[in-house]
């Protein structure tokens, strides 16, 4: 501690250690919070086509088109340890060939400081809703849920499901749109 550099070294190292302890404290204050909020999903239009599946073997598979509305208030999730939310809409269903199918139709990143009241209308799906086979036609129960991945400043990244889902049925024949 006799020279400026030695003192600067001690001071800087001490500050970094204290900063690390503060970051751990930030993590501890929000580690056990429940980050689920109610979500309202409404579907306006559903249609299927039977096309060649370019992502897999050359067979004709069902391709679904869903147009939906989303509304949720995400403000209670944002605390001092949340940097951003990665939202994604999942469709979950059962077919004769597969017991469980989960497809992500749409996603969005909500940064801290952006508008946290989600109120989207007439949104088309962002990603292709291909089925592994022909299980979408006349499928009675397809459940849409909105989930999100919480990206924190310090700590674990949990996957949280919003409370609220929408079950819908696909039409009986191809190229026939069903409105709700």
């Amino acid at each position: 501690m006799n020279t400026v550099l030695s003192r600067a070294n001690s001071l800087f190292a001490f500050s970094l250690s204290v900063m690390a302890a503060l970051t751990f404290g930030c993590f501890v204050t929000t580690a056990f919070k429940d980050r689920s909020v109610p979500v309202d999903i409404h579907v306006s239009k559903v249609m299927i086509k039977n096309v060649d599946d370019f992502t897999g073997p050359r067979e004709r598979s069902d391709l679904g088109f869903v147009t939906f509305d989303l509304s949720a208030n995400l403000q209670p999730i944002f605390d001092w340890n949340v940097k951003e939310l990665f939202l994604y809409l999942t469709a979950e269903y059962t077919t004769k060939s597969n017991a469980l199918n989960q497809v992500v139709l749409w996603d969005k990143i909500v940064l801290r400081g952006e508008n946290t009241k989600l109120n989207l209308k007439e949104v088309k799906s962002k990603y292709f809703f291909f089925d592994d086979g022909n299980g979408l036609r006349a499928n009675k129960n397809i459940t849409l849920t909105l989930s999100w991945n919480v990206v924190p400043n310090a700590g674990i990244l949990p996957l949280v499901m919003g409370s609220g889902h929408k079950s819908l049925a696909f039409p009986e024949s191809y190229e026939a749109a069903k409105s709700y």
Binding site: M1, N2, T3, V4, R7, A8, S10, L11, F14, S15, V18, M19, A21, L22, G25, C26, T29, D79, W80, N81, N153
Partner: protein, 104 residues
Amino acid sequence: MLSMFKSIPTHMDYKGQKLAEQIFQGIILVSAVIGFIYGLFIQQFGWTVYIMLAGFTVSCLLTLPPWPMYRKSPLSWQPAIPETSGENRDKPQENQSQKKKKHK
């Protein structure tokens, strides 16, 4: 250019060093507690970091330059004994130890 910086005296005596260490540790810890509580209150971690940086800057200004308060109790060295040729005969042990040091 570097020799100009190296020639500025930056030393502190031992009690001054202890005082400097206590001062900066105290300031950093106090600003950490204040920053944590304020950040928790307004739910923004950015403010915690800003308050910590402010504490760091204040500590830098207070402890890095060698202020006079850190030089208040200097070590009292013995007065220097002037070296003459007569010294070599009177203190042979010192001479031998000096020789050993020179060999190294």
